[in-house]
Amino acid sequence: MATISEVEFGKCCRGLYKASNELQDGWDLIEPSESVYLSKKFIKAAPGSMQANYQIIAEVTTIECHVVYSPSYSCPVLYFTASNSEGKRLSLEDCQKLISPVYQEHLTSDFKWSFVTMQEHPVLLKPFYQLHPCHTTDFMKPLIELRNAKCVRNYVFSWLSVVLPVLGLNFRTEEYLVHFGESRRDGECDTLS
């Protein structure tokens, strides 16, 4: 079991936020109280978008991902919601359609990922979809060992690099690795762990 404490989670989030700012990856750090969470909006155009003259007519989907700490599972939890350009939330089925076919297969074959439930967002108190954290700590162990080998001791980063692709969302793992690698040479390794 590879768990993480809330303090450590906060540190990891700040480390990732800092890196994201430098890489302009768009992650936002939200600190409503003592607890923090990361947030990022992903935009996707629905298939069938077209350009008419100088305008693009397309249905746009905003997928908002929040990385929140779960005290009961002692690990990060991914909350997400998706809405169309009118602000109407997408059903889970519609969300799945956004996911590229490669990951679709992943979604059905790899069970432990497919537990999506609807939960109230612990901070926003709004209904969000949640990737259930019940297996997180199990699969994180080998991952952490792998990352440690590269001296990137950011739990949240390692976790995101696996979780986001499940939703078909891009995570710039390699850039972060390079970035963290450089930071380490700059003697910043400790702030990330």
């Binding site: 994201s20 700012n21 302009q24 990856d25 768009g26 992650w27 936002d28 947030s39 909006k41 935009i43 155009a45 978008s49 350009q51 100088y54 305008q55 693009i56 007519i57 397309a58 746009v60 905003t62 908002e64 919601t81 809405s83 350009s85 009118e86 602000g87 109407k88 939330r89 059903s91 889970l92 069970f111 497919s114 537990f115 999506v116 439930t117 609807m118 926003l124 709004k126 209904p127 259930h132 710039r172 390699e174 850039e175």
Partner: protein, 1053 residues
């Protein structure tokens, strides 16, 4: 783009509004709590980005932070400012004059430009207007965005336009990116609009050394005076090559107002677009323009910016957010997701829809109804109808989980069913729950003949029928047995899936009713195929008390309905889970239970599908019995179903048919001592007499009486292959009648078995039932007896069949004294020491079912005696003597009547009496089954003299001489010249050539060699005494000498 075409009017990509769901929630909150009816302009914040990938429209977003004053734009996004006009009614929204509010917003921009405020905070140039109406009852939002911009009197024209990568090489771009990054590091945020101070002009050639600086707009004058080359830049939300995004419009107005004169009306612009590509930021798709901008000093009169809707027309948009914001719908989708989690995590093959789409009818809204409804909610079942007639009493809420104290009242509580339905909706508003106040018409509860009360019952029956029709699963949860009958019948007729739950004090029964696999009931029971398609029983088919539990007084539901509080919850949970498992089974309600096997065939993905679940808290045990449907069941048999189909409601009004049963008491292995050794090898009741097992003669007589629908054999022979085989063949032979063997667990005396199996006897409410002792031989006219019983049954409860016997002989039988006029029995003595009466008990009776109640009293008396008198351990307290404990009391209460028969009658106690019985039955065949009697064939076959029965599989040599009174069993071989007389040759025996068999019984597989002589002494009733019976006395006389009798050869092993 080529030079020629470069001179054209610049066109801008308008913003496409995107709203994140959080905004609508905030708007709804603000409308309810802050704005209320105030529809004046409110300040909003928005944002846009320049890092969208190709193919995305030029987006402008607002999110849940739009109302916050100090809202910062999300990373990589740029702020915009706006005004909200949220109208109170749809009419206000429609009739709102759009021009002034747009001008008002445009004016703000103009003021920011002219005051120079926009130079300091250039984000003030990007403004939007939101006109909206929030219908918070339906969660419907109407809205229309505008992005105000000025229409220049002289249009902006393009001198040069290119992609950045077409104008400059990588060095230029790298320099620009470095400048931006440096700026970001120092200032944290890049402004929406900025200027680039560059050593080269935008379209000029590139020097080898390139250093660029990003500067704020306010630095323009200074830089300009210092002679720097200045490129205007802004973060461009458009992704289309060649077309800049909407923010450029007002940027150009700012430039035109302040600086175009200084720049000789030629302005160089970079539309800065920045997106990640291959792990790096990429700006090569940014646009470069050289534009011709005329100076503006006066506020342009025209402003534009209303957004087109989805139909590409200028008009409002509408979004229905009930799914997202209506708590009811949120609860629904949340519940469904939770259920899906079960499917995803544990059993992918689970078909939730099969369960949730099920319409459930709950008959009874007590503890079971409440708990089951709750469990159904958990499975996502949304159609639940509860039926009950009661009101909530003060004692109910603690056990009946859908009620509260407030539902009770001293003036009579709320009606249960509607109250339960209402509470279900409170728990889960997505449920379609209905409570119907209705009493279920019950059989045996008389309806007065008055037309209106018949009409009222008919109405109730119709309602229940409609309810059964419109639901898929019927739960029977009532507290009386009778009230379950009509729904059972209706559900069988309509082929609905029934789950029945009954509670005892600390025991429960959860069962599902069998279902006909075909819509149409097969007319004929064509032997084997119908056997395979055996149907599971319904509540009324099956004894509710399992054998061995006869210590309990009554069937579960007939007991007082006090039960341990947890029992209802356990049973309810099991009932709902049973339903779930069965609905998942590929065969659904037709699935056959197979508790022994774990193969896929036997269970659904949720596990096995038992027929019944019987649990006993007292010993923490659960059993899973399976019972077949009972062909004469009052609730589910084909007869009742087709009668209801044919006659409908009228059928329910008809009095129950005059239905009779017969019970044959067959005793057990410890009995029949005088029949040894023959009774060692075959249960005595199955000993063949006149070619048929002894008891088959009774069955045959009964089968000829229309009223008799069932024959129950009760005894304590362990269930053996022989008995089973006999029952099977008898069922086939007499298929109009049900024949079953009910084994006693120990010898229960002559009447204990009757009490033990009282529910089986009473099932179907027979008018009366015959009781036969197996070991009597008679050819009774049962029809006469039925009639006699019907004549006397107004007063009497028992008809006893008697026959005349000589004085001396009578004393070894039960003797009856009757009132010659009324035929009422006045005295009964079992084996009197002195002469009492010449009427003797034939061992055949007719009982009214009330006799079973009397047995109940005796049973309880014995139970008490057991404790008081230290009752002998060996004598089971359940033992009841028919003669002493039934007949004697009934005589004294004047409820026994005497039927006299003059037909020949005999007991079959000894082997000799079997020979005599053989004779009686053979002679009776003349009347009933003459085909069974062997006949002399001309020129062939053996010589037959008198009554002879030869089994069709026996081989008899044509030179043999048989008879009178001979029975030749199966596979017997009779050689040439054999003589057989007054004998029974049992199956498999061989009588070799020229042997002689007289007055004997030749055992199974015996071999009588050539020229043998087997001879016994004929033993018959005294031919000189009228009515003389066979005396089956001791085998030895007082002097110890063997009393001469017939010869018996035992079974050859």
């Amino acid at each position: 783009m080529s030079e020629d075409k470069d001179r054209h009017i610049l066109q801008f990509v308008p913003f496409l509004s995107t709203i994140e769901s959080g905004f609508w929630t905030k708007l709804a909150e603000a409308k309810l709590n802050i704005f209320k009816l105030d529809d004046s302009r409110k300040v909003l914040n928005g944002f846009y980005t320049n890092s969208d990938t190709e193919g995305l429209p030029c987006r402008h977003s607002i999110d849940f932070g739009a109302f916050e004053m100090k809202n910062k734009a999300p990373p990589l996004c740029f702020s915009s400012h706006g005004g909200l006009h949220n109208k109170n009614t749809i009419e206000d929204f429609k009739s709102c004059d759009k021009k002034p509010i747009l001008e008002e917003e445009a004016k703000l921009i103009w003021n920011a430009i002219t005051s120079g405020e926009a130079i300091l905070s250039p984000d003030l140039l990007v403004r939007f207007l939101l006109l909206s109406f929030a219908d918070l009852k339906k969660y419907m939002f109407y809205y229309w965005f505008a992005f105000p911009a000025f229409v220049h009197s002289v249009p902006v024209t393009v001198c040069h336009s290119n992609l950045l990568s077409d104008v400059h090489n990588g060095k230029f771009m790298e320099a620009l990116q470095n400048a931006v990054q440096l700026y970001r590091k120092e200032n944290q945020f890049l402004p929406n609009f900025f200027i680039i101070c560059s050593p080269t002009t935008l379209f000029g050639s590139c020097n080898s050394e390139l250093t660029m600086t990003i500067c704020k707009l306010k630095d323009f004058e200074l830089l300009y005076q210092q002679g720097h080359k200045i490129i205007f830049a802004y973060c461009d939300p458009s992704t289309i090559p060649g077309y800049p995004g909407w923010p450029l419009r007002n940027y150009l107005s700012l430039i035109a107002y302040h600086w175009s004169a200084q720049l000789s009306q030629t302005v160089d612009i970079i539309c800065y677009r920045d997106r990640p590509q291959d792990g790096k930021r990429n700006i090569s798709h940014s646009l470069c323009f050289s534009l011709n901008v005329s100076t503006i000093k006066e506020c342009p009169l025209n402003s534009t910016g209303w957004e087109k809707n989805k139909a590409n027309k200028y008009g409002p948009r509408r979004v229905d957010l009930a799914e997202d914001m209506d708590p009811v719908k949120l609860a629904e989708s949340s519940v469904n997701l939770n259920l899906k989690l079960m499917k995803w995590r544990l059993m992918p093959s689970l078909d939730l829809k099969k369960i949730s789409s099920c319409k459930c009818l709950l008959l009874g809204a007590g503890t079971l109804g409440c708990n089951i409804a709750r469990a159904l909610l958990g499975w996502g079942v949304t159609n639940i109808t509860l039926v009950d007639y009661g009101t909530v009493a003060f004692s109910n809420p603690v056990r009946q989980t859908l009620f509260e104290f407030s539902d009770c009242s001293t003036a009579g509580g709320k009606s249960k069913a509607p109250a339960a339905a209402e509470r279900l909706k409170k728990i889960f508003p997505g449920v379609n729950a209905e409570g119907i106040e209705l009493s279920i018409p019950m059989p045996g509860h008389p309806i007065s003949d008055r037309a209106e009360s018949v009409a009222r019952v008919k109405k109730d029956v119709d309602r229940i029928e409609n309810l059964v029709d419109s639901h898929d699963v019927i739960y029977l949860l009532m507290d009386t047995r009778e009230s379950r009958w009509l729904p059972t019948l209706l559900a069988t007729v309509k082929r609905k899936f029934v789950i029945n739950v009954a509670l005892g004090f600390d025991s429960y029964l959860v069962m599902r009713h069998g279902m006909n696999s075909h819509q149409n009931i097969p007319c004929s029971s064509s032997s084997e195929s119908s056997d395979q398609e055996s149907k599971l029983g319904c509540y009324f088919c099956n004894d509710v008390v399992a054998p061995g539990n006869s210590m309990k007084d009554r069937t579960l539901d007939q007991q007082c309905t006090v039960s341990r509080p947890g029992v209802s919850m356990i049973a309810s949970a099991l009932a709902v889970e049973l339903m779930a498992s069965i609905l998942q089974h590929p065969h659904g309600p037709l699935a056959l239970p197979n508790p022994g096997s774990l193969s896929d065939e036997a269970s659904s993905c949720l596990g096995p599908v038992p027929h019944q679940i019987r649990g006993f808290l007292s010993h923490n045990q659960i059993f899973y019995p399976t019972t077949e449907a009972y062909g004469k069941c009052t609730g589910c048999s084909d007869f009742v179903v087709s009668a209801y189909k044919e006659k409908g409601f009228q059928f329910l009004l008809e009095p129950p048919a005059n239905m009779w049963k017969a019970v044959i008491l067959i005793g057990g292995p410890e009995k029949g001592t005088r029949f040894r050794p023959l009774s060692f090898d075959v249960p005595k009741p199955l000993f063949p007499v006149a070619g048929l097992p002894m008891i088959q003669h009774h069955i045959e007589t009964c089968s000829k009486i229309d009223q008799i629908k069932e024959i129950l054999l009760i005894g304590f022979y362990p269930k053996s292959e022989e008995i089973e085989k006999f029952i099977q063949s008898a069922r086939k032979q007499y298929n109009s009648i049900i024949i079953r063997y009910l084994p006693e667990h120990t010898a229960l005396g002559t009447a204990g078995g009757l009490y033990h199996y009282r529910d089986q006897i009473e099932a179907g409410s027979p008018t009366a039932f015959f009781v036969f002792n197996a070991d009597v031989c008679c050819n009774l006219a049962l029809k006469d007896i039925v009639e006699f019983h019907q004549e006397t049954c107004a007063v009497g409860a028992i008809t006893i069949v008697t026959t005349e016997a000589p004085h001396q002989e009578s004393m070894s039988y039960g003797c009856v004294v009757e009132n010659a006029e009324t035929h009422e029995a006045t005295h009964y003595v079992e084996k009197p020491e002195t002469f009492v009466s010449s009427l003797i008990n034939c061992g055949v009776y007719v009982f009214k079912p009330e006799v079973l109640n009397h047995l109940g009293n005796i049973f309880r008396k014995h139970q008490n005696e057991r404790f008081i008198d230290m009752y002998d351990e060996d004598a089971a307290a359940e033992k009841i003597s028919l003669e002493k404990e039934i007949l004697v009391p009934y005589v004294s209460s004047g409820k026994m009547f005497v039927y006299k028969t003059t037909k020949p009658w005999s007991q079959i106690k000894s082997a000799a009496s079997a020979i005599f019985a053989n004779k009686l039955y053979l002679s009776n065949y003349h009347k009933t089954n003459s085909h069974r009697l062997a006949r002399n064939a001309p020129n062939a076959g053996p010589l037959i003299s008198g009554d002879v029965f030869i089994h069709e599989t026996a081989t008899v040599h044509s030179s043999a001489v048989l008879g009178p009174n001979v029975t030749i069993g199966e596979d017997v071989k009779i050689g040439p010249g054999v003589r057989v007389c007054n004998s029974i040759i049992l199956p498999g025996a061989v009588i070799e050539n020229h042997s002689c068999v007289l007055n004997a019984i030749i055992g199974w597989q015996s071999y009588v060699g050539e020229w043998s002589r087997v001879e016994g002494t004929a033993h018959q009733p005294n031919p000189n005494a009228p009515y003389a019976k066979m005396i089956s006395g001791a085998l030895f006389d007082e002097e110890g000498r063997l009393i001469p009798s017939i010869t018996v050869l035992g079974k050859c092993k």
